[in-house]
Symmetry: C2
């Protein structure tokens, strides 16, 4: 179109790459953010859920008469009252691989975890609603509680779902490539590591919430809520309510985080929406922290039994893995209970060249709160498994742990692995080199060894990983999902004043989309960033969108906005050429809010002049151009997607007296392709690492044998604060992605992925002289103490 | 695409042509409509305007201190305080033809009519605001008031605008074709008629209103208001506030009428929006009836001096017309003060074959409330002029008044007139024949003559006219408008449940768009009408729209929705062919919500199945199809547009004792092309005729010599009620329009156009034996009595 295109290709230019002030900050920092609970609608009623007090049982009776007698209670509903369709997530897999189970909106017949919603109470204020809920009488016939892999898979275990024999929701052996057994037979060294990660809560600062109301004028249920996936919620809501999808509108105001917990469809929001429709009054529900901790979607509880064969030089020759993910009581929509084991199966080899691969993965169901994808989605777990294998083999073979990694890292790209995944170029080796150099230059190795001599337990740990980001529909279809996320859409409209509104199907919940997507568009069109406004979070504003998860927003959403901007630029040039009476190939965007004639740069049409014609003097448009300045584009990541990568390096000190672990140094070297906004990427890395450290050292939801959750408040659920999180340095390598429109690869999850393994490796390094070897997270002080005791005296270990 | 297309072409089928129950009725008839004043926002403040008490004068001082001292008054603003850009409407004409004048948002320096807003008071409730406004002290230095054509055009007349010398805003001689003078010289008969129509108020049931608020999250001024043209208001608002247009969102809830009064941009709404932005609080203003009657946009006050030459056979040989339109104090945006004289000049010959044509038209400015296009827009006036000319010539030449019309009517189509306008086919002759036959068959001619013998004054009057509807940008550009309305846009989205949402840039304010546009779409796609939902009235929902005026909604907006539906149908077929593994030309819409394979009708894909792929399994789409089921289209009427036509026939009785006129029979034969919804078109005709009768017999805004308006309440402004409006029969002829997508021509204004002339002709026929000849509307009882007196004794006539 013009020779100025390189100036406006979104891979540099004026805005991309600069840490411009965040567009959302003036609002958020001056208290003008609008979150769900800030929305006040006249006549609003408030909802509270009656929740199961037992982990597993049949409902034999629900008596809401005392509830309904409370002054100010407007209504109370059971599943039978609301008659809603269940949430059902499907895979296109045979029954022996995947058991299709249903999640009712309110419990029907059975309850499957403590906290499961059984009835809904609607009252004039939240306090009355809670009073009413407390008076509900629900009778149960208890069934045995499934609280672990062992109880779930036991011969005579009670079934959480009758549709899931043996309590197995998914059982897939995705790979069994030739040569696995031969490799083990011929191995110079075989290691077997069982790694486990504890159950976590993604714990967004803002809990879930919804205010639903019926809009008479638009003939729509307006559902204002806190979700990462407004269109998916709309689709699921319409199906559950059995109404045309157009009669549901989901809008999302500001959000205080999600981390995946809000990328699946919750049942409470649907129940509240149904109540609002029935009562024809706005109904609000704001999840309280206790609900969030016990009945919100959880994550992470996985076990990997990883056997690896190495040759004598430390090169992996085969991998044989058995994975069990405890998905809790229900399969989440739309991802299903298969999401974690399938992703782990597909991507486990990670950054390493693995010639032969066998994997079996199972998702089990249990009487715990159900799970959702949480930042990283099984990658923190399989990376931890691989990295522990590397460490173990290094020790067995007497090779430096970084050296053994270098011998196995993928260094030639594109690389198609044993897992039939093609990895695009990255800096697997370079990031490791830089991370190591950073610690060496700073003298941490000397410090460690010197401290050891003084009896201190200092350890250095690394983690190398890559992360598929911005999954396209092809990648999801490979998992045989019946609902296949992938594309995203953007629409750009320029108004008569030359400003543009960009609508995206992604859904910011802390990622700074208002800034980063605007940077991309501003550079494409040659606008000032203040002339670009992003809109999201309204299912009416754009036909569909898959929302924000899987580090997809800048890769997919950002590519869609870039494409739409390019198309708008072409449209501007076509009209300008007509107005300037020249050919379209003789004009180009001038980067100053206009189009200039190439062979006579004195001739120019400003965007305002072009817009004046496009809107207000359409008779002057070229005959084949329709009025208005609007462009739309969709983008789907082709093939296997793009891989970000990083190396994390950690220095810890373990206190053998208290069992406490202190992180002394955390260095992250990451490559997410083109960095749109360095400060934002740094923030993503640091936030992710903080959550990874939380998983490595602090947070855990455990359950008693009867299924009672342990962590119903912050007294028991140990969230690290700024005190526990070290300063973190982030270094960027930039390998532009060849097939995203902006060269970016996605940076939302990486921090979380690398931290658990790096911290765990550092702890093991710190304890290297004690005989202790830890493969389970979180590593609590009592874990360390118990392990030290056991190592010192295997017969008389303290209880952990 | 498919051989089923004729079934779904919007010109018949299941829904088009049927009087299906109106989709908007359940809401409106059960009190669930939502009008501007129904909108409640927390923290809303209320506005009241300080208005000029004199017609013309300089402002020498404004003292708002007493206003601001009132408890509950939050703010009071003058023009200087708000510093807003003026509303300026432009024509691309030289200064000698058009004087560009400005309408400030609040009066600056001068006031130009009684009721002009001078200051804005914002208070906690409307009563306090009014109290505060009453305490404002505005000092004026009075200037002479211009209240008539004579005072405006007098030699030493004070100037309403310094930019408009001689108080002339527009002075255009659009046609002076060869042969005019020769035709008059050779004429068998020359008639000269001076027709005048009184100033009227369009008088929508719902007055204007606005609630403006700042939306922190979207960084937008949300202006919820009652307007026919939301995008035009947005454009003007952004310019006046000097902000990017994207930072203004205009939405329109249900509306209680507009009739053109709300198709221009008002100043009060802009002032209120500016106040809301400054105060960062919602501000509401609901125009009260007194404001609506005195300071709302008025219409109609025009004078035509029409000379016509006829040959001896009664054929027109030339027309020479001088038109003066009193546009009041300001030029309206975007149409300008030129809209009425220019339209009259361009279209005056109407349904008659006029070989030579000279016309001069002027718009004058006066110290009266400004005018806006009102249903019919100068056509009631020029049609009345032409029809009075026909009657006069018939009498002079002794030819039957219908016979003389038949000799002059255009009967061969397309017909390009002396005015360079090409008329598409219509039923000019047929409608006259049918109207006459209707009255003859019912015996009205015998009744008239028998009654005359009994001394009663029964008269029969006709009016033949056509009406250009759905002006395209070409037609507006011919008028040299600087802002050129024309196109409209539609977007259609099908959701995963096969329902569609249609967004249109038109703006229903009583026309039943929710029903009629849905009929068109349902037939195109083969959907049930309940599966089609219309959205309008939100500048965010569609890139631009010109709103609803000039009978454009079904012609232009309806064509755009039909085109968009056709495109969506093609998209559905493309995807279905891919899914059915056949070629796109081997499938067609089946009219039952699906696509069927032509050569194997057992093979079919339902819309739900197609939508499932388009949204939720996009990996299965054809490679060249982008995800989602969305189609957009724009439509602009080509060339000179399309002409609806009608003949109205009226029987009246005049009471020479009281001067009262009673309408005994009203028959309308109309042709608006394909009738989408007969009941709706009947309602449009009847409502329009009622407004035409109001103008013919009742409603008039007069001004005292000092510019004081006479009609500030319904005591003085005589609105006819059901008692005064007769039963009206409507017969339909259907000449499908060749170039609108649905064959429709537009039916919104016709009733209003035909009634004044038909009623006036009938009155003159009733008084044919008295020597009275009336050429001015409204014909009040006192008008009739004065005319009878004057005819009886020209020396001693009663004052009218």
């Amino acid at each position: 179109m013009s020779d100025a295109a390189p100036e406006f290709d979104g891979r540099g230019g004026r805005w991309v790459g600069a840490s411009v002030p965040r567009r959302e900050d003036p609002r958020l920092l001056t208290g003008r953010g609008r979150f769900v609970d800030d929305i006040q609608l006249p006549g609003t009623l408030h909802a509270c859920f009656v929740r199961s007090t037992i982990a597993h049982g049949r409902i034999t009776g629900i008596d809401l008469s005392a509830t309904l007698a409370v002054d100010g209670v407007f209504a109370a509903y059971t599943a039978a009252d609301l008659d809603l369709g269940d949430i059902v997530a499907l895979l296109d897999r045979p029954p022996e691989e995947f058991a299709t189970t249903a999640m009712p909106i309110l419990a029907k017949e059975k309850v499957r975890f403590v906290g499961e919603p059984v009835a809904l109470v609607v009252a004039r204020d939240p306090y009355v609603a809670e009073d009413g809920a407390e008076l509900a009488v629900v009778d149960y016939e208890p069934l045995g509680a499934i609280v672990s892999e062992d109880t779930a898979l036991a011969q005579d275990a009670p079934l959480v779902h009758e549709e899931a024999p043996g309590n197995v929701l998914l059982n897939v052996s995705m790979f069994d490539t030739p040569g696995v057994d031969e490799a083990f037979a011929d191995a110079g060294c075989v290691v077997e590591v069982v790694t486990r990660s504890g159950r976590q809560n993604a714990l967004p600062l803002e809990t879930r919430g919804v205010i639903a109301s019926w809009d008479d004028h638009d003939d729509q249920l307006l559902v204002q809520m806190c979700t990462q996936v407004p269109h998916q919620v709309r689709t699921a809501l319409a199906r559950s309510l059995r109404v045309p999808e157009r009669t549901v509108r989901v809008t999302v105001p500001d959000m205080g985080g999600g981390f995946g917990q809000k990328c699946v469809v919750g049942r409470e929001e649907i129940a509240v929406a149904a109540a609002a429709r029935r009562l024809n009054r706005p109904v609000k529900w704001i999840e309280d922290r206790r609900e969030a901790l016990t009945a919100g979607f959880l994550a992470r509880e996985q076990r990997y039994r990883t056997r690896a064969a190495f040759d004598a030089d430390g090169r992996i020759t085969a991998l044989d893995v058995d994975i069990v993910c405890d998905m809790g009581a229900y399969s989440c929509y739309p991802f299903t209970a298969g999401i974690e084991p399938l992703m782990a199966s597909a991507e486990m080899p990670g950054v390493y060249q693995v010639p032969a691969y066998r994997v079996r993965a199972r998702a089990i169901t249990s009487n715990k709160a159900p799970t959702a994808p949480y930042r990283g989605v099984s990658r923190p777990q399989y990376v931890m498994a691989m990295e522990r294998v590397m460490e173990r083999a290094a020790r067995e073979l007497g090779i430096d742990p970084l050296e053994i990694r270098r011998r196995n890292l993928i260094t030639q790209f594109p690389y198609t692995g044993v897992n039939a995944v093609t990895y695009d170029p990255g800096t697997y080796r370079e990031s490791l080199d830089l991370a190591e150099a950073t610690l060496r230059d700073e003298g941490w190795y000397e410090f460690r060894d010197k401290a050891a001599a003084e009896g201190r337990h200092i350890g250095i740990g690394f983690c190398c990983f890559s992360e598929r980001t911005g999954y396209g529909s092809g990648a999801f279809a490979k998992r045989k999902m019946a609902v296949v996320p992938g594309f995203d859409i953007s629409e750009i409209r320029m108004d008569t004043t030359g400003s543009v509104v960009v609508t995206s199907g992604t859904m910011n919940h802390g990622q700074s989309h208002e800034t980063t997507l605007a940077q991309i568009v501003a550079d494409r069109l040659g606008l000032h960033i203040d002339q670009v406004k992003l809109r999201q979070g309204d299912t009416e504003r754009i036909a569909y969108g898959w929302g924000t998860f899987a580090s997809r927003s800048v890769t997919i959403g950002g590519s869609a906005v870039a494409l739409a901007a390019t198309r708008l630029g072409e449209l501007l040039c076509r009209i300008a050429a007509h107005l300037l009476d020249t050919q379209p190939d003789n004009v180009r965007l001038d980067g100053e809010g206009g189009v200039v004639q190439i062979d006579d740069p004195g001739r120019r049409a400003s965007f305002e002049e072009i817009a004046d014609v496009a809107y207000l003097r359409s008779n002057l448009l070229p005959k084949d151009v329709e009025p208005t300045l609007t462009a739309t584009a969709s983008f789907d990541v082709p093939g296997d997607g793009t891989f970000s990568n990083a190396t994390h390096a950690v220095v810890v000190e373990a206190d053998p007296g208290t069992g406490g672990i202190t992180i002394l140094r955390y260095a992250c070297v990451e490559d997410c392709g083109v960095v749109i906004h360095p400060q934002v990427v740094d923030g993503q890395c640091r936030g992710g690492i903080a959550q990874g450290i939380a998983g490595a050292l602090f947070e855990e939801v455990t359950y008693a044998d009867n299924g009672e959750p342990s962590a119903a408040s912050f007294i028991d659920y140990l969230v690290p604060t700024a005190t526990e999180i070290p300063d973190i340095t982030v270094s960027h390598l930039e390998t532009p992605c060849a097939f995203t429109e902006n060269g970016a690869k996605g940076a939302g999850e990486g921090g979380t992925i690398g931290a658990p393994a790096a911290v765990l490796n550092a702890i093991n390094d710190a304890l290297r002289h004690t005989g202790v070897e830890l493969d389970t997270t979180p590593v609590h002080p009592q874990t360390v103490l118990a392990a030290l005791d056991a190592a010192a005296d295997p017969e008389r270990s303290r209880p952990a």
